[in-house]
Each structure stands twice: as structure tokens, then as C-alpha cells.
């Protein structure tokens, strides 16, 4: 017994080393779904510090943020009903007047029920140089943010909320090797999955597009709307280049991301109002099998 104790005492440094490494490696391994204590600590503690330092940094990026928001505003303005030319009123047609009112109601009555609502937030911490990039927002559970909500920037989709504390939340970035987002090509509605290979923070990859489908450089890639996280047709990027390998029937497509992740400052969190309904419906279908 005494021998054992003296042995332990003599090599205490090594055992302490082993002990500390086991703790830290345990944290590394569990980081896939971050341990609750760690994510709470980093969200609340980190959030307090970052929100005070970021307020200084944001002052210097206001100009750029303004330009981005202006652009987004212009884009949104072009989408509203008043921006479309109402052709039916410009036609010389004696019967046009009564068709007008009918068709107007018919088109818009269906689409008026909103499925998503939006909450703006500020990015207070961000990284692009790691393999698993996250960013932190200045809103949390008290502001109604929950896990798995989509996050959209002025230039398109940027990530998904990953962990939430009382006043802050962490979102997993599109440029994270664990991210997979259901995406489609705007030109032919072909479905694929967007992921990132960990190399260039400006370039992501689109997988599972079959090689018989015609695609070309510059094609737009948008969210599919099937994931229940993002609304349909949120811009993600454009095709930069693509290639095939022999024996593989899907393309290797590189996507130039629409968002510049190193200049992320103001974002919008998307809440899917029907999420629970959709998920429970999915679950019902799975239970039947």
C-alpha cells in the first residue's frame, strides 16, 4: 500500500496530466452536441463580454452593414405586390373590369396566411478560420429563439440556431463541416444537399445532383423549403465550377456562397410557425411504418 502511494506520489505529474487530458478530451468528444454546461457558459459569459466589445467594432462596420441592408431593402421592395405591373388594367377589354376584381382575390387569398415570421439580431462573435465555425447572436430564449431556427443574412442563408441560453444563442454556420442544408437549383428545381469541406470559407459544395441533369456555371442555388428550417428560395450561392469523376453518377459542384461570412453583422432569425405541426405529421407517418 505504502509502495503504491509512494509510486503515485513520485509520478503525480503524469497522473495529473492523464486526469486533465481525460477531462478535456471528454469535452472534445462530446462537442458534437456540446455539453449543456459548456454551451451555457460560453453563451452567457461569452455573450456578455462580446456584446460590449462588439458594440465598438460594429461602429466601424456600420457603413458596410448599411449598404447590405439597403440592398436587401431594394430587393424586398421589388417583391411586394405594388411593385408588379398590373397588366389586367392596361388592356383594352370591355369585359376586363369584373374579371379584375375576381382574379385579384383568387390569386392572393391563398397566399396571405404567413408561415414564417422574422426577428432581427446582431452577430456578436463569429469565426471563419475553423473547421467547425459558429457565430453568436445577441438574442436568446427570453426573446423567443429556440434550437433549429434558420438564420438569414442580408445576402442569403447563413446558419441554423444550435444552442440557446437565456439572452444569447449560438448558431452553426453554413461553413461548418457538420452542416447539411437541403438546397435546390433555381433553374430546374433539382434537389441537392449543401455542405462544406472545411477549406475555403467562400466556397461550399452541392452534393447529390445527378450527372444527366444539365447545369452551368452561374446557376443560382437556393434553399429547398423541405427542411422546415428556411422558407423556400432563400439565396445560398451560385455555381462556381463543377466536374464529374468516372464511376460516380453525381456531380462535384463548388458553390460560391452569396454571403461574405467574415463581414457578418446583422441577421434575421426565422421562425417556422407550423414547425411543430409539420414535425408531428412527419412523426405520425414514421410511426405508421
Amino acid at each position: 500500500m505504502l509502495n503504491l502511494l509512494t509510486f503515485l506520489w513520485k509520478h503525480y505529474a503524469f497522473f495529473l496530466f492523464l486526469f486533465l487530458e481525460i477531462i478535456t478530451l471528454g469535452m472534445v468528444v462530446s462537442s458534437g452536441h456540446q455539453s449543456a454546461i459548456f454551451s451555457y457558459a460560453s453563451n452567457q459569459v461569452g455573450g456578455q463580454v462580446f456584446s460590449s466589445t462588439e458594440s465598438i467594432k460594429h461602429y466601424f462596420s456600420l457603413d458596410e452593414a448599411n449598404k447590405q441592408l439597403q440592398k436587401e431593402n431594394n430587393y424586398l421592395r421589388s417583391k411586394i405586390k405594388e411593385s408588379y405591373l398590373d397588366r389586367s388594367q392596361g388592356i383594352f377589354d370591355d369585359n376586363a373590369s369584373h374579371i379584375d376584381s375576381l382574379s385579384d382575390n383568387a390569386v392572393f387569398s391563398d397566399t396571405l396566411a404567413p408561415a414564417f415570421d422574422y426577428l432581427s439580431a446582431k452577430v456578436i462573435s463569429n469565426s471563419v478560420h475553423k473547421k467547425k465555425n459558429f457565430f453568436m447572436l445577441n438574442k436568446g430564449r427570453r426573446q423567443g429563439i429556440r434550437e433549429n431556427m434558420g438564420v438569414i443574412g442580408p445576402q442569403g442563408g447563413v446558419g441554423i440556431v444550435h444552442s440557446v441560453s437565456d439572452d444569447f444563442c449560438t448558431a452553426i454556420s453554413l461553413i461548418n463541416i457538420n452542416t447539411h442544408i437541403s438546397a435546390k437549383l433555381l433553374s430546374n428545381q433539382e434537389l441537392g444537399s449543401l455542405s462544406w469541406d472545411g477549406k475555403d470559407p467562400k466556397i461550399a459544395q452541392l452534393n447529390s445532383i445527378e450527372t444527366y441533369i444539365p447545369i452551368k456555371i452561374g446557376d443560382t442555388v437556393v434553399s429547398s423549403g423541405y427542411s422546415h428550417v428556411f422558407p423556400e428560395s432563400i439565396l445560398l450561392g451560385t455555381i462556381q465550377d463543377f466536374g464529374k469523376t468516372a464511376g460516380d453518377n453525381t456531380y462535384h459542384i463548388n458553390i460560391k456562397l452569396s454571403t461574405n461570412f467574415s463581414a457578418l453583422s446583422y441577421v434575421t432569425v426565422v421562425r417556422n410557425i407550423y414547425l411543430n405541426e409539420q414535425l408531428s405529421l412527419n412523426k405520425k407517418e414514421e410511426d405508421k411504418k
Partner: protein, 167 residues
Amino acid sequence: MITKNILRFIFVLVLQILIFNNIQLSGYINPHFYILFILLLPIKTPAWLSMLSAFILGSIIDIFSLSPGLHASASVLIAFIRPTIISLIKTNSEVKPEITPNLNNMGFRWFTSYVFLLIFIHHTIYFILEVFSFRHIFDTFYHIIISSFATFVLIILSQLFIYKRNT
């Protein structure tokens, strides 16, 4: 001596979190300047103290960079093997255990090889744990080399700054 080390602890922590964690050149370079604290602990520091302080330092950095365990793990490792590295590198004169292994005390050649070896080990562990697979091994290796170099340059520069002032 103790206050000096505590001040250095706070100094590297603040610099790393507020400045170096925000440096994002070309998406690859991520200098880990904070390990300067571990490098400059006095040689005679007991093993438990250097490992525990490395653990605490690494954990705080982890909390602020949303990387659970990565910095802490690599820091504890270099705190553990530091005495071995010190005894491995040849010196012209006898190493006195009570001194701090800095540029003034150890000379340029000794200090650069000491700093380089420990930085390289730290970054290797950090980046391999970050990917947690050997899938992108060449890419990971590129990250290790380029970030080690950035950290090395920063640490040597910071030391040259102090070195000039003392002489």
C-alpha cells in the same frame, strides 16, 4: 515573480480573446498567442501548478472561442512536456532552475528552438483534435504549418520588443 506571471496570464488572455481570435487572414491563419504564458513560466514551476494554470487558461480561451476542450487539451500537453523539452535543447551554460526561459536569459538560438518546438506540438494536437479525423490530413497539416508560423512570429516579435528595452 508570481505577480508578474499572474499579470502575464491576464495579458495574454485579453490579447487572445479580443484581438487574435478576430484575425481572419485568408481564412487559415489563427495565431494562438496565449501559449506565451506557458512558455515563460519559470523553469522550476512545479508540474501541478504549470499544468493546472495551463488547463485554466486553455478552458477560458475555449469558452470564448466556442471550442470545447481543444485549447485546454493542447495547453495541458505542452505544460506537461515542457520540462523534457527544456532539458533536451543544448545550452552553452548551465540552466539555473529559478530563471524564466526567455530571450534575455537563454539566448536567441536556444529560445527560438524552444518556442518553435512547443508551438508546433501545441498546434499539431489542436488542429488534429479540431477535425477529429485523419480525413483531410494534408489540409490539416497545412493549417498546422501556417498557424504555427504565425504564432511563432508573433511570440518572437513580442519578445524582441521586451529584449531591446532591457539592454
